[in-house]
């Protein structure tokens, strides 16, 4: 058997384990064998999303600035190569394939119950062999323009991006993932190749696989198909982002029923294990104060200020940005904001319900166990951990460590009612 740079990582109570291999090409490979399952799920991802707009490689003097939406455009185009598209190839194995681009990553994926190895070969091949021509780039612009318009008609999307534009003054997280109908017109084949060669370097990528698979067979395929890759020492820059939000309120209209709102707290960005800890603290703290068993929730529901859509969102985090939001539907979102601020101020002064905190920690643990039930969520968890710079299963250990006192301190130090954005989308002609 080939000697490899590898280790087995196990969850704190031994429920699950995975293999991490640092491949000689620079690629981080995570494999979770789940032999009792029929299915397998594979993700091939790069740390390249919509926020990566300014970068340079080792030896380059100037930073390149690229049009908005190019990471997403690249994702669309990578499915085509000179002879045949990736979807046509997957059709010969039966795998269900897709891809997605977010703020900080792009991932190509497939799920299957048979023919895993040939499907993996398709995945590794098409992602490593780009083929763009101006003609195929032009053709894609029409499709992506429709995707952008579809998103713009989605009120939740509008609510979210309006809020980001107000929270962040300079950081590119304020830009839509797919760009704009105008910005994608600036994209050409040369730019796509440049971005591809910068970010689709195996030192900047991961392969995450879970399910009914054989690690040795996977690694043999990787040895055969992964292309040698030199670490270009990618350097990215982000504009300076002040602590303060840019604007405290944004109100927009769209065809909607009950007005949608989101109250977002801008927090100081963090990374790695510190970010993981802060994410869990932010979520548990806000949940302790506003979950459906709290007095404030009951009161606002009885007064018809909120409905069952009210709740704390998962923290929104990445390189240089961190926020936590509370949202839902309300006919009087400013009053909801006032009540939320009162509860936070009171908790900062008097502390909060420790029993509620422990109940919610228990519930969060239950959710983590629940997600281990599933091939797809295990593969996604390993990819998330790579992207976040942490070890698989770290969230379970950190959750067990944090205390109610730490959460209260987090609330006092980090949750700032002066640094929020209220985003509202309501129907035209309606008073807010």
């Amino acid at each position: 058997m080939k000697q490899r740079n590898q280790e087995t990582i196990t969850s704190p109570k031994g429920e699950q384990s995975c293999l991490h291999v640092k491949h000689e090409t620079g690629l981080d490979i995570y494999i979770m064998e789940m032999p009792d399952y029929h299915s397998a799920y594979a993700l091939f991802g790069t740390k390249y999303g919509s926020v990566n707009t300014m970068f340079r490689l080792d030896g380059e003097k100037d930073f390149a600035q690229v049009p908005e939406g190019i990471a997403h455009f690249l994702e669309h185009k990578l499915f085509e190569n000179e002879d045949t598209g990736a979807f046509e190839q997957y059709a010969k194995t039966g795998a269900i394939a897709n891809a997605y681009t977010s703020f900080d990553r792009t991932a190509y994926l497939f799920m299957c119950s048979e023919n895993f190895n040939p499907s993996l070969e398709i995945l590794l091949n098409f992602v490593q062999h780009p083929y763009f021509t101006q003609e195929t780039v032009d053709k894609e612009q029409g499709i992506i323009a429709q995707e952008i318009r579809m998103n713009e008609d989605e009120p939740g999307w509008k609510l979210f991006f309006n809020s980001l534009k107000c929270m962040y003054q300079n950081h590119p997280v304020r830009i839509g993932i797919a760009g704009t109908v105008e910005s994608i017109q600036e994209i050409d084949a040369d730019l796509l190749y440049r971005c591809y060669h910068t970010f689709y370097n195996l030192h900047n990528m991961t392969l995450s696989i879970a399910g009914n698979v054989n690690a040795e067979e996977i690694l043999e395929i990787c040895d055969r198909l992964l292309l040698p890759s030199e670490d270009h020492k990618l350097e990215e820059v982000y504009p300076d982002e002040p602590y303060e939000v840019y604007q405290h309120e944004v109100i927009d209209t769209a065809p909607v029923g009950v007005p949608l709102f989101s109250l977002d707290f801008k927090l100081r960005p963090k990374s790695g294990e510190a970010l993981l800890r802060a994410e869990l603290l932010a979520e548990l703290t806000m949940d302790t104060l506003f979950n459906s068993s709290t007095e404030i929730y009951q009161q606002m529901l009885e007064e018809n200020l909120i409905n069952f859509g009210f709740g704390v969102d998962s923290p929104f985090t990445g390189n240089g940005y961190f926020s936590v939001g509370i949202g839902g539907e309300s006919r009087n979102p400013r009053e909801v904001r006032k009540r939320i601020f009162e509860v936070i101020q009171n908790a900062k002064k008097n502390g909060f319900d420790t029993q509620a905190f422990e109940r919610l920690r228990k519930a969060k643990y239950g959710n983590m166990i629940r997600s281990m039930n599933n091939v797809e969520s295990n593969a996604s968890m390993m990819l998330d951990c790579y992207m976040g710079g942490i070890r698989p299963f770290s969230p379970v250990s950190v959750l067990a460590e944090i205390t109610c006192e730490e959460a209260l301190q987090f609330l006092r130090d980090e949750i700032d009612t002066e640094n929020t954005v209220l985003s509202v989308v309501h129907a035209q002609g309606e008073e807010i």
Partner: protein
């Protein structure tokens, strides 16, 4: 995986699916009623009234606390139509007992809680749901109805169903209108629930890592004095002589197109699904590869079947100026299938895709109970492997004859305001 069925009352089966690999426990109770569209609004209030509080936990806060204590267990529900049959599913999910940190018996606790909700709701005077719980849920349902406009694709499909299934239960919203909901009372909804308890066909599913010996006793004879009428899950919809066309407009960036095709003969589920898949159900289908990829007309253009109605629906989001072109392109793709002008390999690809998807069954608790439920619905009760054989036996001629049986029935367009097509 082991599956077995036990009778827990007259005509009521508890189906247990034991799968040691799972780390969770799922218990669901399915109620099936023959459609009575005038009762839809009352019926749609029932599941939330049952699960958001109960006699033992009469407030939302109390119920939430209880669920948090059970390691974030959740009570979930869904209502839907299966052809002309109304379905309500009530479900509890919790992590397996092996993962409880203090040895709690979570499966038993979760099962008891679900049963508590069903048998001892938050009611007053024995004939009405609690007034305050009712008011909260009534307002919630009113909000849900108002919010139907938020998602343009699903809104377009809902509006399209009004013309596609005109004068049939499927044309009616499961929630009713705001006026219908305002006319409800705690008494009328309680009465509607009593009718469900008395007349619904009931199925109970348990999916978990180990056998649950307490469940049969827990559910035995809890549903009594019942009078279950016949219900039907195949109710083909008649194709109109001329296609109905409806256009609405709204403040939008993108128009929505919905086209419905109906078969003029009864077609097997397998032929119907395979034909729809080749037409527009996957990234290698004709709608994706031609209408999206070659013609660049849209981001999505896909087809799906409506179970038990012999109906295939195509949905697409397109710019206003391309509505007509897209409509023609969709018809042209169906014509290609009718004329047999598609590669034999496309049928083989579609078979592989469907078989691959079918064999994923069994890897999630919900797919286990859904598969068992589908077997119950089918006249032949075919299991996954038997269904795979049915798919494998389909020929190109079967697909051509299926496509030929379909005629355009309805077209719905949601257009940008001021620019009606």
């Amino acid at each position: 995986m082991k599956e077995f069925s036990q009778s827990v009352g007259k005509g009521i089966e508890l189906i247990s699916i034991i799968e040691p690999k799972f780390k969770t426990t799922n218990i669901s109770v399915v109620f099936l009623m023959p459609c009575q569209p005038e009762k839809f609004p009352a019926w749609s209030l029932v599941p939330n009234l049952l699960l958001n509080s109960c006699a033992k936990y009469p407030t939302i806060a109390g119920m939430s606390e209880r669920l948090q204590e059970l390691y974030g267990a959740y009570l979930d529900n869904s209502i839907s139509l299966i052809a002309d049959t109304w379905q309500m599913r009530l479900m509890v999910n919790t992590i397996g007992d092996d993962y409880a940190l203090e040895g709690e018996k979570l499966r038993e606790e979760a099962g008891s809680l679900l049963l508590e909700c069903i048998l001892h709701p938050n009611a007053e005077h024995g004939n009405a749901f609690s007034e305050s719980a009712f008011r909260t849920e009534q307002q919630e349902l009113l909000d849900v109805i108002q919010n139907e406009i938020n998602n343009k694709r699903s809104y377009a499909m809902k509006q399209a169903r009004k013309i596609i299934f005109e004068n049939e239960p499927n044309a009616v919203s499961l929630y009713g209108t705001e006026e219908d909901v305002l006319a409800l009372t705690p008494e009328s909804v309680y009465e509607a629930y009593q009718e469900i308890l008395q007349k619904a066909q009931i199925l109970i599913y348990y999916v978990g890592p180990e056998e649950a010996p307490e469940l049969p006793e827990m559910f035995r004879n809890v549903f009594t004095d019942r009078n279950v009428p016949e219900f039907c899950v195949q109710s083909p919809s008649q194709c109109k002589a001329e296609p109905a066309v409806l256009t609405e407009s709204m403040q939008l960036g993108q128009s929505q197109l919905v086209m419905a095709f109906k078969a003029e003969k009864v077609i097997s589920q397998e032929a119907l699904r395979m034909c729809s898949l080749i037409f527009g159900g996957a990234p290698f289908s004709l709608l994706f590869s031609n209408v999206r990829e070659k013609m660049s007309l849209c981001y999505y253009c896909s087809s799906a079947i409506v179970y038990g109605k012999n109906t295939m629906m195509v949905t697409s989001g397109v710019s206003q100026e391309n509505l007509e072109k897209t409509r023609e392109a969709v018809l042209a793709q169906l014509d290609l299938i009718r004329r047999g002008e598609f590669e034999d390999s496309l049928l083989e690809d579609a078979k592989r895709y469907l078989i691959n998807a079918l064999r994923l069954t069994g890897d999630t608790p919900s797919s286990c109970s859904s598969e068992a439920f589908e077997r119950f619905l089918r006249e032949d009760h075919a299991n996954v492997e038997e269904r795979i054989r049915l798919y494998q036996n389909l020929t190109k001629e079967d697909i051509i004859s299926t496509a030929k049986a379909f005629r355009l029935d309805s077209v719905y367009m949601l257009t940008q305001k001021g620019e009606e097509a």
